[in-house]
Symmetry: D3
Subunit: 270 residues, 6 copies
């Protein structure tokens, strides 16, 4: 079960509020590469771990909980980028500059629906979706999903880092980038433990695969093209269980031959 305290996980300060940056930060909250995704992903993966693998459940839950704290940090950063400097300055201005900016950022909902606070949406204003969450029941597949989530997440964080000059935001992102470094490393460490590069799922018997096509790079080029002699067309495959080859042709399986559909479907042509 879960607990909280009153502090943020790491300090969140904003020197120069910037509504456009608030919008960009939303990508790190509710986007495909964001913290809601990883928090829930690690959590649902943990929920599926059987009793005898308690250390894996803990491994996942430790990080799930950390990511919840990142959502809180980013939400605070969004609010602070939308806050007004002072009440007086605001009243003096004929029109509120923050509101004016919101109307131009393409995300008026942040003003209209949320009163200038964080929302569970991405930087384009699309709502977070459970579709992002991968919890496959297979630990290796989950670990690759986690490496990928942290890779695109760290890529996002570094891009956000470049797009601001605010020292408070840079400090917060420097911390988050560091955590993404750690998380990429920890999922890789787990994969090393499982035996890297083995095709997932490793337990499917190799003899039930089609043995002619499981290490052949298949060209779909219109005309036959020579082997480009790349690391993926020759040499030992990374899984150590086959040798790459190159085939300039797709096998071909004859024309599809569907029957006419039944009357009740009104599938006739006119």
């Amino acid at each position: 079960m879960f607990y909280h305290d009153d502090e943020l996980q790491f300090e969140v300060e904003v020197q120069d509020p910037d509504p456009q940056y608030a919008k960009m930060l939303q990508q790190a909250i509710g986007g495909a590469e964001g913290e809601m995704r990883v928090a829930l992903q690690y959590m649902f993966q943990a929920f599926a771990v059987p009793a005898e693998k308690q250390e894996i459940r803990q491994f996942l839950m430790e990080t799930a909980c950390e990511e919840l704290g990142h959502i809180e940090m980013l939400a605070t950063a969004v609010s602070k980028n939308l806050e007004n400097a002072s009440d007086e300055a605001r009243r003096e201005a004929e029109q509120d500059p923050i509101i004016e900016e919101m109307m131009h950022t393409g995300q008026p909902r942040q003003a209209l629906s949320a009163g200038l606070h964080a929302m569970p949406v991405d930087s384009n204003g699309n709502p977070f979706t459970g579709n992002w969450v991968v919890a496959s029941g297979n630990l290796a597949a989950d670990m690759y999903a986690n490496v990928m989530a942290e890779s695109t997440g760290r890529l996002l964080a570094t891009r956000l880092y470049e797009f601001t000059d605010d020292p408070g935001m840079k400090k917060m992102l420097s911390y988050m980038i560091a955590r993404d470094t750690m998380h990429q490393n920890q999922w890789h460490a787990a994969l090393e433990d499982l035996g890297e590069h083995r095709p997932v799922p490793a337990s499917f018997p190799q003899e039930e695969e089609n043995g002619e096509y499981n290490y052949a790079f298949m060209s779909t080029y219109k005309d036959e093209r020579d082997d480009p002699e790349q690391p993926w067309t020759q040499g030992e495959a990374p899984d150590g269980k086959g040798e790459f080859s190159y085939t300039p042709q797709q096998p071909g399986g004859g024309q599809p031959d569907l029957d006419e559909m039944i009357d009740e479907m009104y599938n006739e042509v006119n």
Copy 2:
């Protein structure tokens, strides 16, 4: 640009049509782990490759095109699992058994909207979404997304393989599982080429990360818990640039301290 011919990429035969299996195959067409996702993912990744990396564009496009052919194979398989044995047999029956089954599978749209053919939806009937497609502009991130897509894709294919006794379906899936083995291996080969285990993006300067927290496994357990001495809490990190440590506490960054929002937002409490 793209071409086609009249043949399937590999033969698709169904001995015993099974509407429920048709529904399951939809996951491999329009689902998160399906062929529409990988075909479009490799295509959009290819579209972003600059001129001087032509071999990478080709690498991606070769496989994108192959996956388009897999959509066609699976769509044919869905239709064949929904086809009726014979017109006569059907009319003799008081009620069409295929229709009856469709009504029970929870996906009546396949009868109502598509006349018993394949649709761009997953096995739960949810439409395919562009959300599945990852093309980040960073090759390493893209390759991890590809490894992940093929891992969950092969996991799906092996599960589908177990859920059928139809020899035609097993043969088709044995081919597809083989291709997924190849594809996992080829993306791994590309990652080896880029220098594996380097945190993505590798070019972000390490000195701009928070140096205190980029190799520390951070526990979020309610009470302090000892280092579990796992591969991710001690030893050299997979990226070779740091040493794992264990910290039982989150840093803590003080309480968030938001101002009151402005009047025009009607954010008051009552």
Copy 3:
């Protein structure tokens, strides 16, 4: 920030696993009335609370954290309803009955994508969406959203309670229904504190409203119909600031009179 420990918040036992019930429980995880919604809703509401209202932030966060624990309980319940009794029994059967059931429940993704575990989807298999989360920046509006979320949530829980005979499931739901009772009461208590029945937002000046129509029940019946003399057509309005009346006619505002659109839009008729 957030913490966890290794225990569930309340015990989760399943005597007779039932895949169909697992599917129904998904509504309480990822559905409109589910726990992901309320956990994230209370959390995003808390994230927006200004510093001087710390007790409100705590009020919301206490319950947000409790709801995270409910997700964990329900996810465990889903897994337990999908678990096999014994490995032996399963192998003896020609076909796995759980798998067979899954194929019939209309949610094969639970087998295909999640290996028979919980997913962030509802009982129809639709993914959780950030759209469910209401955090408006206005406390009274948020409280009504919370009362509504707990009302439909408790309604769902009581329906789930009726649809099972499993004593473990009934015990778990009896606990959850109790918590929903508490939560409905606590949001009502907060509303009482704010002054109930005041139109939200209460601070909008009444004189800027159209004074002719703010307490009039407006009939849209085709022909004029007499005042039905209901509590909403006569007597003092609940907000205490007006008297209900009945008007059998909509005001009428003349015909809309749009100009032709400009050429660049190709809005012409042919």
Copy 4:
């Protein structure tokens, strides 16, 4: 069944067309707080009312029909905010200023897909979704959903009122805010009739709830924290059927103890 006439329900005039304001008005058409939501919500609630409660069906349908008229008013307002002043002025300008603005508002679809007219989308450009519509089959739950919809709807309308100086728009919104005042009051009046503050659904027998936890405010704070002595931790609960108490601890239900999943799922760890 439904009828119409040629007039708007209330006059809609725009003095100074403003494309950005058109975009904001979309929130009141297709957004979570918008008129499509309430029109359809009251309609689907009405569709479910049994014959002997005809007055309730009428109550709901009267207002559903009124809200349909609000969609029409707002759609007219959107078109008028996007209309050009005069054909001549437009041709004189080197570039059409309205088009230029549309390209900057982050919602080019209004030009590209709708020729500068209203669309069933919200102010972020997200399509209206049936997810917004709550019709639970339980009248009290529905009424709370209605109070909440009108609360966030009126909040939206007051925010829109602040964001414009156009006298036509202010007049239209003054009318709509008045109607939202009425609608909030009328749903409250219905709730008073049903017996307010009773936990929904009121008919679930209290003795089947867990009696230990249905009036206890449960803290999830990391460390034990004293009773904050708030209206929700002490005193009689609003439903009048229990006394609030404070518990600093979650009950705790032991560790989840899932079995290993079956072979066909390829749920093994490598």
Copy 5:
């Protein structure tokens, strides 16, 4: 503006309630081919009609209003297919057969979220989406969208007609199919008026099109294939403004030649 009365547009009787059929009817309510789509589509098209084309606005609004009545009819049909025969019979049964059926239809939300009534979702349980609504600002494009909506709508209605033996349902559908016949005809009549077969938008100057490719059927077959001599490869084109030809090759436009992206994007390969 809109009005209603207390009657259905046409009688809705159900002799033998059938929960599975209720689910299928949902496709005609909230699905791509359903009544919510056409009601809103015609309404939004009407909202965009300029003042001098009042007869077109009326034409569209007349039918929009009729379709609202169809939603009501279908919603009533759904409820009646989910109603229990008698309270006594139900209590006698150990388990409620309707509930049992609902659990098997793959749409438990109809029980859990709506208390066995209609919902704004399709037959797969996916929510209605504003995406269905086409209102382009161009009357001819809108008319083709309407023909298409009524074509797939009538196709759906005829399929639903086949899938039931209930005389009440057959009578209701016979009425709805008749209305779809009328509506297809009326949109065709409007298109005849506009000059059929003219490429939409007709006002785009033909000389600004690429004149080499606007009447050429372009083969994308892998190898050159002979003109199949079909109505679309030879003879006068339906718009009367060109002659069909056949070209076995795509023009070819050289290789794409993108620059490397900038540093801040971390688009490098490692």
Copy 6:
């Protein structure tokens, strides 16, 4: 199966990169009127064609493949509109102007998630959805869906043509508009072949329709209104099987009379 080569289908040059125009082009990639929709629509329609109608399958597949090439062209155009002029110029500027623009266009994801490249989303940033794809199993319905898709697609292309002065973009769009002219014509040619204006599906027996209402224009105006004497209220219907008439009244089907729902649903009023 599918093939490709290294060239674009038609040249794509951009003289003056324009990030806002890149955003608008996204509508033609991933939007309702875009190329992903038609490519997949024609493909799924082709997948459903039975063996004896091979020429129809080819007809559809030829064009599906062409549209895939249009996605590639448009994606290249998006990238080229987001590319920087020169590396030097960029470094000289204090702030990158392209990035600055992206932050203002309301679609920051193009920078944050895709590194300034094309994405499978529309111009509002909403992801492509399989919902766009219509493949009904009925050829005539499919052809109307195709006419409609090409009509709104060409309308979009002509609007995009007006919104740019870039000669490269104008040339590309002139080609695409030409192809849309061809495609509208080819689907019309196929419809002529099937017998135009016949209500879809044509095979449903006319005598099973309600014969009183299948050629009557039904007014829903509040008060009885005279026949407006339009082409859709009098004269022969386009299908040649009936005569239009005008009826000022909806038939009326009595009041709906639903029973009370069962106890387990907690559908009571309080």
